[in-house]
Symmetry: C2
């Protein structure tokens, strides 16, 4: 493992207990755990290669080769715990550069199995007190926070809520236009995207598990060979 000492501190929330529940129609619980871990490791690799320094944020201890912060609270509360601690350190420890606008922390979801180093580097390097990579359905798939007052709320239409929250603390918001970052692998239809565009561990895991893209009536779908179980 290599990390850049000047990388952007990047939190990857990951819950190893019963992950990817919306994939339950096509993957059983042990399969979902394996698949979720493969996606997480793809994301950690892409974060590193994109210039970030990844850490996991989990409700329970995980054996990993990156720092793990354990916080049993909900996703939003746990992420806000990290943001508050970073802001606190900044306020008590002084800013590293005079023009630093705040503590830089990135948050990247663990199911962004299509995220490439290039897309993440564009996110990390974008100007803005708050930089958001929206997900389909008004989600927030990745963001960079440089404003010490900004807090997250992942419930509901979080992209719209985060824009509003940023305005409320007078933070400048930018949006990153990336299909790779917009595509979280969340439900069965998303597996098709991973099979079409992916080439990492998670895509290989899916192919090894017998999944393939099919075309019926002009639309693509995903099918699993009946006799293949990993």
């Amino acid at each position: 493992m290599t990390t850049r000492s000047d990388g952007l501190r990047t939190i990857v929330p990951f819950d190893p207990d019963d992950p990817c529940t919306r994939l339950a129609p096509v993957l059983d619980p042990p399969e979902r755990r394996e698949f979720a871990a493969a996606m997480r490791d793809d994301v950690l690799d892409a974060v590193r290669a994109g210039g970030g320094e990844p850490e996991l944020l989990s409700p329970e201890p995980i054996d990993a080769d990156v720092p793990v912060t354990v916080d049993e609270r909900s996703l939003s509360k746990a992420v806000n715990g990290v943001l508050a601690a970073a802001a606190e350190r900044l306020l008590t420890g002084g800013r590293p550069c005079p023009n630093d606008t705040g503590q830089p922390v990135a948050v990247v979801m663990a199911d962004l199995a299509l995220a490439t180093p290039r897309a993440l580097a564009a996110l990390f390097d974008a100007d803005g007190d708050v930089v958001i990579a929206p997900g389909r359905g008004a989600g927030t798939n990745a963001l960079v926070v440089r404003d010490p007052e900004f807090r997250v709320d992942y419930h509901g239409a979080s992209y719209l809520d985060h824009r509003r929250a940023a305005r409320n603390v007078e933070a400048d918001v930018r949006t990153i236009d990336s299909y790779q970052l917009a595509t979280d692998i969340d439900e069965p239809a998303d597996l098709s995207e991973l099979l079409v565009h992916g080439d990492g561990r998670a895509a290989r895991w899916l192919r090894d598990a017998g999944f393939e893209v099919t075309v019926g009536e002009g639309r693509t779908a995903v099918e699993r060979a009946d006799d293949v179980r990993v």
Copy 2:
């Protein structure tokens, strides 16, 4: 209307007869015609502002302030007619520069109502004999063709088919990572994306028609006020 004389020739296929059929559950036929025209005009504006010189390709005559090519054949055949004619002119007329790799023609779908000038400029400016902006579901939402032998086939998993077709004519393929270009407004769930991210004619049309984003059980959806008809 302004066009750049050095803009990339950009074909926008548009069929005014019964457009957006998959939106039939939420819009009646006259509404679908209005909405489709609003999306088309948003796309034409974005193409111009992104450095392209837009033309419509339609199975029937349309009254428009851009050139219209009428071709009654299927989408793929009509687009290939344009590509073949451009290649023919190139071969008989000589190449403008010694290193020109072929006739540049872009094809941009008329339902990319989220496409911004910036995203389209990135497409137009990207290197590659064939540059593809994939759509969700392995579609091809926009592309640039600089290879005189390349032809399209929009049926099925066209993104994969176009990559294969490019390899077959030894054309170098690039992919553009853009959520805006990946999001065609095709089915009711897509309307939510337009309401969340859009600010052009089509987004205004939808809002005026009473559509709004709702959040239920943590997921976003789109609803229409019962008493609003445009």
